[in-house]
């Protein structure tokens, strides 16, 4: 039960972050470890800045 609650809260957190265009940092680390063990992953701050710049870089549309 406790585990489920934790997973739920984690999901909510991920949802909130992705809503503003920031994907899961732990997921990114996981991916880098698996796919590119030779490369040094970005730090959390670098990752955040990179995502922020990408989100507002070009055209995006929404139901304004």
């Amino acid at each position: 039960m406790h585990e489920q609650l934790k997973a739920f809260v984690r999901g909510l957190r991920q949802t909130a972050y992705l809503m503003v265009g920031v994907p899961d940092y732990d997921g990114y680390l996981d991916h880098m470890r698996r796919a590119h063990p030779d490369r040094k992953p970005m730090s959390r701050a670098e990752f955040f800045r990179e995502r922020q710049a990408a989100r507002y870089g070009g055209g995006n549309g929404r139901c304004r």
Partner: protein, 696 residues
């Protein structure tokens, strides 16, 4: 037999939905509870999701559970990330929901709640959600490419450029209309203006904090930002009453227009982390929170609808916007029923995050159903207000005058009895000096939301707080959209102009950036200014133009989907896309034609211009102009608006031509010609080639 048992629940749901719809539609002369509308909508959504969306997924497009999605193929942990479907649903919904589904239904309520409700419910099921879902499918099958690229690949280079050009024009109109809504909501409202102004330092503080103190941590700082916003609302009440600060923040429409234009320019050249991003975070969370709170509020309060099911204004003589039910209702409510802008999201970030094709139905179709539900709630919020108050708030001053007495007299004459006392009392309740002619939808929605929120939290004493909370919530995400849209428009413009003057393409060049930004701000600023000085309120002119352009984009997206279905050799199912396309073409082209040539000067731009020219010839001055020079300016405006309408119609008609040509070409081939990324099987799946998966 078991499947039959399973169906019984769905049949029961369908019956409940039909009963609720019948109750709403057939009730005459007695008040109806808003929950009937909500129940009818939700039942239709669920049944459509269970049956029609499944049919679309399995039969019409043929999703393949074994196919690798772009998120898996290009997984980089950044742009392409296989994402849990509920998390992705949140992302997609936050991206598509905006001012559109909130404002359109409020404006449409002038014809009564019934036409708007029916269009929202059936429009979404047969058109809007179909578009969002199909574009998501088409883009996912093509590595998550954008709508412009998809049109270019599947239809050709020229249609691709035309579509991009159309999208830029639509962007300009949308930004102008959104800014106009903010101006209408904040004009002569020191409380609202000071609260919205306070969001700028709050956002900058958050931005600096996230940049330098705790980078990458959004949660805590957003909570602090939210608390500061609530404080700003409370302080705003004091500011409005202060003899020194009150007048500082009491600005008229023209002053606000210039401020917004200047703001739009400065904000969109600042680094994104400083202002745009933090305010985007605040507005996104506030938007989702307010939508959830509104849903809870409607269920708890279960208000009665005061607006009649149909008003006399179905004949097209309404004061809020001009034009008859067909075609103008169907373009007034764009988002919520069908919105072309969603095709940009469905071909933007979402397809790059989708972990399996089976989830397209939930994200694409389901996400749009959710947005439609927001539109239903906005319609409810507008319909629980006293109709007399609704019309006093939404009619232009040129029609009802500027005093409570004149407004009450005119509106009562229309059959919506209201006393001047009620109008002044409502204004006092929400902490404003007046509510008369606060067109644009946002203030009306704010009054409705304030009534709902005050009923469940705080009582009448909290009305003013909740009203300004609702204004802030709308202004915040509109300002974010203006900022982000100006930025995006600037990139589009640099791209377009770069084909002629290559130096302008360089986004590293300060001169090129400033020039493109100035052009972009100037373009929407022109329309905004024109709307603000218009004695009929501007919304009258521009909301239909926005609706036409948005629905035309939807038609373009659906035409693309039709072409893709033909190219996949699935033309026997293409009616699912052709049906909504045909309806949208009919509505938008009729509306466009009427905006040009309708004999009523309130509807037709050219008729309006002709009337003014005759007046000029006689040496007369007609409102909004105060001199003959201004008359010329208004005539020029009319021609600009007419020209824009012609351009929109040209874009959509040429897209129709290219689509038909592409479909005919596809028919001549006996093999599929769609340019999908080649099939790649999901690793770990056992079946060799993909029979289309059932059981989603």
């Amino acid at each position: 037999m078991t499947s039959l048992v399973k169906q019984i629940g769905w049949i029961a749901l369908a019956v409940i939905g039909a009963f609720a719809l019948g109750t709403v539609a057939l009730a005459r002369g007695e008040t109806i509870n808003a929950l009937w509308i909500v129940v009818a909508a939700v039942a239709v959504y669920l049944v459509a999701y269970r049956y029609y969306a499944l049919y679309l997924a399995n039969t019409v497009v043929g999703v393949n559970l074994l196919r690798v999605t772009p998120a898996l193929r290009h997984n980089d942990g950044l742009d392409y990330v296989p994402t849990n479907k509920y998390v992705l649903f949140g992302h997609h919904f936050a991206a598509i929901a905006g001012a559109g589904p909130l404002v359109g239904p409020v404006l449409a309520a002038q014809m009564g709640y019934l036409p708007g409700m029916l269009w929202i419910i059936f429009g979404v099921v047969l058109a809007g959600a179909v578009q969002d879902f199909m574009v998501l499918f088409v883009s996912t099958r093509r590595d998550g490419r954008s709508l412009g690229e998809l049109v270019r690949e599947e239809l050709g280079y020229v249609p691709g450029v035309i579509a991009l050009f159309g999208a830029f024009l639509i962007m300009i109109i949308i930004l102008a209309v959104l800014a106009l809504i903010v101006v209408k909501a904040l004009a002569d409202s020191p409380w609202g203006t000071s609260t919205v102004a306070a969001t700028i330092p709050i956002a900058i503080g958050m931005g600096l904090w996230m940049r330098y103190v705790r980078p990458g941590r959004i949660g805590g700082v957003s909570v602090v930002g939210f608390i500061l916003l609530m404080l700003a609302i409370i302080v705003g009440g004091q500011v409005a009453e202060s003899p020194t600060w009150g007048p500082v923040f009491t600005l008229n429409g023209v002053q606000l227009t210039w401020l917004l234009i200047g703001y739009g320019f400065v904000a969109s050249v600042l680094p994104v982390w400083l202002l745009l991003a933090p305010r985007d975070y605040l507005s996104t969370f506030l938007k989702i929170g307010a939508i959830v709170a509104l849903a809870i509020g409607i269920f708890v309060m279960a208000p009665d609808l005061k607006m009649p099911a149909l008003t006399r204004f179905v004949d097209g003589t309404g004061p809020v916007w001009s034009g008859s039910l067909f075609p103008f209702l169907f373009i007034t409510i764009a988002c919520g029923a069908v919105s072309g802008f969603h095709s940009l999201i469905s071909s933007g970030t979402t397809p790059k995050l989708l972990d399996n094709e089976k989830n397209m139905r939930f994200i694409g179709y389901g996400g749009m159903l959710m947005e439609s539900f927001v539109a239903i709630m906005a319609l409810v919020a507008a319909s629980i207000i006293e109709p007399g108050v609704y019309f006093a708030m939404n009619s232009p001053a040129a029609v009802i005058g500027t005093t409570a007495e004149s407004a009450a007299a005119t509106v009562s004459q229309w059959g919506f009895v209201v006393t001047p006392e009620l109008l002044t009392q409502t204004a006092r309740d929400v902490g404003e000096s007046t509510i008369i002619s606060r067109a644009g939808g946002a203030p009306t929605l704010a009054v409705g939301m304030a009534q709902i929120f005050a009923a469940i939290a705080g009582g009448p004493g909290m009305m003013a707080f909740w009203y300004h909370f609702a204004i802030l919530f709308e202004a915040l995400f509109i300002l974010t959209a203006v900022d982000a849209g100006t930025r995006a428009g600037r990139f589009m413009l640099q791209d377009l102009l770069g084909t002629f003057v290559p130096a302008l393409k360089n986004t590293g060049s300060w001169t090129a950036n400033v020039l493109a930004t100035a052009l972009c701000v100037g373009a929407w600023g022109y329309f905004l200014y024109q709307g603000v000085v218009d004695p009929l309120g501007g919304i009258n002119t521009f909301w239909p133009l926005f609706g036409i352009s948005n629905q035309m984009l939807a038609a373009v997206a659906l035409m693309l989907c039709t072409v893709v279905l033909f190219k996949m050799k699935r033309e026997r199912y293409a009616w699912a896309a052709i049906l909504p396309t045909a309806w949208l073409l009919l509505c938008t082209l009729t509306a466009g034609w009427q905006k040009l040539f309708h004999a009523d000067p309130k509807v037709g731009f050219l008729t309006h211009a002709a009337g003014l020219r005759e007046a000029v010839a006689r040496g007369e001055v007609m409102a909004p102009a105060k001199s003959l020079e201004e008359m010329q300016q208004v005539i020029v405006n009319d021609y600009v608006n007419a020209g824009l309408t012609v351009l929109f119609m040209f874009v959509v008609i040429s897209m129709l031509f290219f689509s038909i040509r592409a479909c005919l070409q596809a028919l001549r081939h006996d093999q599929p010609t769609a340019q999908e990324t080649p099939f790649e099987q999901l690793p770990g799946s056992s079946v060799s080639t993909g029979p289309v998966g059932r059981g989603m």
